[in-house]
């Protein structure tokens, strides 16, 4: 399995999620944004059983001349053409969309951060194997400014919420299949708390916190809940349930992708 990463921590959380689901999975990480990183293409790319593109601090809107952005779009095109099962979260969904001819823009509702609430499956989502075993409505960690506004032909919207119309989609392009989500099923509360602490300044500017103390307090609450999943008083206060707290529920889409796209692809190849 190849994890293509924009930021190191993003790739590591994805590795942890895949290892949790399949302890003996072999994983390589490639930093696609780095100019000196040599990216696999063609036959080399086709040698992987699956490719995952996670989150990133980059933005597609305004990134037309940014080589760090364009390299990744080209990489996604190569993944489609190599017909390797392709999974993405957040940035990964956006890059795959643009690679296949769709459009991404800054979300007109502003940033969606923390937890995407009340994500609901579309009729197609209910029937999709990507969401097998998932409830029709769920929450998930989320951090994004941009969103998919136009999907390329060969795509289907699988999930939506009131903030973002494309929370999950499948894209068929150039013979390859991509399953992706705008949210972050790979993030646990520890990771969310880490992001809050790291980005506290901008979260305050954006109005998510009144001040630095409020940000630290919220991050501490999430950290406490992460370490003590039996603290039902905290999960109730924060409005979080098994959708976010139970990795088996949260990772469901990732596991389904491995089971339904990667495994059959592997077995045909070997």
């Amino acid at each position: 399995m190849l994890i293509a990463a924009g930021v190191s921590s993003g790739a590591e959380v994805y590795r942890d999620a895949l290892k949790f689901l399949y302890p003996d999975v072999k994983i390589e990480i490639v930093y696609v944004a780095d100019a000196n990183e040599s990216l696999p293409a063609g036959l080399e790319l086709a040698g992987y059983d699956g490719v995952v593109l996670g989150g990133s601090g980059l933005n597609i809107p305004g990134g037309e001349d940014d080589p760090r952005v364009q390299r990744q779009i080209q990489f996604a095109r190569n993944v489609f053409e190599a017909k390797v099962p392709f999974l993405g979260s957040c940035w990964g969904l956006q890059v795959a969309t643009v690679a296949a001819g769709g459009v991404v823009a800054t979300s007109w509702r502003g940033p969606e951060k923390g937890f995407a609430r009340k994500i609901r499956l579309s009729l197609e989502g209910r029937g999709s194997l990507f969401f097998e075993g998932k409830t029709d409505v769920f929450d998930s960690p989320v951090f994004h400014y941009d969103e998919v506004t136009h999907l390329p032909s060969g795509s289907t919207i699988l999930a939506t919420n009131s903030h973002c119309a494309v929370q999950a989609a499948t894209i068929n392009h150039a013979g390859g299949t991509f399953w992706g989500v705008q949210y972050h099923p790979e993030f646990d509360l520890h990771h969310v708390a880490g992001l809050i602490n790291y980005y506290a300044e901008s979260l305050i500017k954006e109005g998510f916190y009144a001040d630095i103390d409020a940000a630290r307090q919220h991050a501490n609450l999430l950290q406490t809940l992460h370490q003590n999943s039996d603290r039902e008083d905290l999960s109730w206060l924060l409005g979080l349930d098994q959708d976010v707290l139970d990795p088996r529920v949260r990772y469901q889409e990732i596991g389904n992708w491995v089971k339904r796209l990667v495994m059959p692809h592997m077995i045909r190849r070997h």
């Binding site: 998510f208 919220h218 409005g239 349930d241």
Partner: protein, 289 residues
């Protein structure tokens, strides 16, 4: 044409006094205000059927109303006490009188039981504060009660019992993971009742007052680690109520317009009046001409 409503507040005198001492508005007053907000010239009479001295209207007395709205209540629907059985008989009489019914929580439960359905203690325990991710059923999406509502929403809630069996002629309109029946339409002996397990009449302030009255009980159930956590939570709700622009607090608590915007929260009430009460009034008036 002004609708005349009968607002039925099932709380006992003792339960009403306890809530009032914690600063909560009486359930009947919350309900009357909500109805008048949805139809400013509506008239509302109030009845306390749990009071031993209350004279309960029958047949023609009930038929004189254009709608009967039932508040929530702290009684338990499967307790065999006079306060409970009187109200089940009353809601049955309202069905037979053909007066449109609407109600929250306990009210949905007695409407279901009066029509032959069943309720039990919810095996998931008490659902308190906010009912999350209520999802309309296929029938709910097409139902006039939910015209204009999102297919998934949150709502204020406080209950331990739930509807387990609906009678023939009833339709489950919504549910969530905690409680399978979050709303129901009951048709029985010529009458129709639209019942919600949640509370569109509450706002953050009323939720805060109710929580305040129940802090010790909620602490014993594990909602608060200590009394101070309960008091902090009540203060948080009151702060957000007084300062609706504090989107930081709403975001942290995971609440949005479903709870904070009165028009969104009370779509069901307006739909009940526009799609059930007024059409029933018009039909009745034409029949009398």
């Amino acid at each position: 044409m002004n609708p005349r409503f009968l607002v039925i507040d099932g709380y006992t005198k003792a339960a009403r006094d306890e809530l009032a001492s914690g600063g909560a508005t009486m359930a009947c007053d919350q309900y009357s205000a909500m109805l008048k907000n949805a139809f400013p010239t509506a008239e509302c009479d109030i009845l306390f059927p749990s009071d031993p001295s209350a004279e309960l209207p029958t047949g023609t007395g009930l038929a004189g109303y254009d709608g009967i709205a039932w508040t929530g209540c702290s009684l338990t629907v499967f307790d065999d006490t006079p306060e409970v059985t009187r109200q089940i008989a009353l809601v049955r009489a309202a069905f037979e009188a053909g007066v449109p019914g609407f109600g929250s929580c306990w009210a949905a439960q007695i409407a279901v039981v009066a029509a032959g359905g069943m309720c039990k203690a919810n095996p998931n325990g008490r659902e308190m504060g906010i009912a999350r991710k209520i999802e309309l059923t296929r029938e709910g999406r097409g139902h006039p009660l939910y015209e204009g509502k999102n297919s998934v929403f949150d709502a204020f809630i406080s209950h331990v019992d739930e509807i387990t069996h609906i009678p023939p002629g009833s339709v489950v309109l919504s549910g969530n993971v905690f409680t399978r029946v979050q709303s129901v339409s009951v048709s029985y002996r010529g009458g129709v009742f639209w019942g919600l397990q949640y509370h569109p009449e509450y706002d953050l302030h009323e939720m805060a007052r109710l929580t305040w009255c129940r802090i010790d009980k909620l602490q014993s159930l594990g909602f608060f680690i200590d009394r101070k956590a309960g008091e902090d939570y009540v203060n948080l709700l009151e702060t957000l109520h007084a300062n609706p622009e504090r989107s930081d607090l709403a975001w942290m608590l995971g609440i949005d317009d479903d709870l904070l915007n009165e028009d969104v929260r009370r779509i069901e009430v307006r739909n009940w009046i526009d799609r059930l009460v007024i059409p029933t009034m018009v039909v009745k008036q034409r029949g009398n001409e």
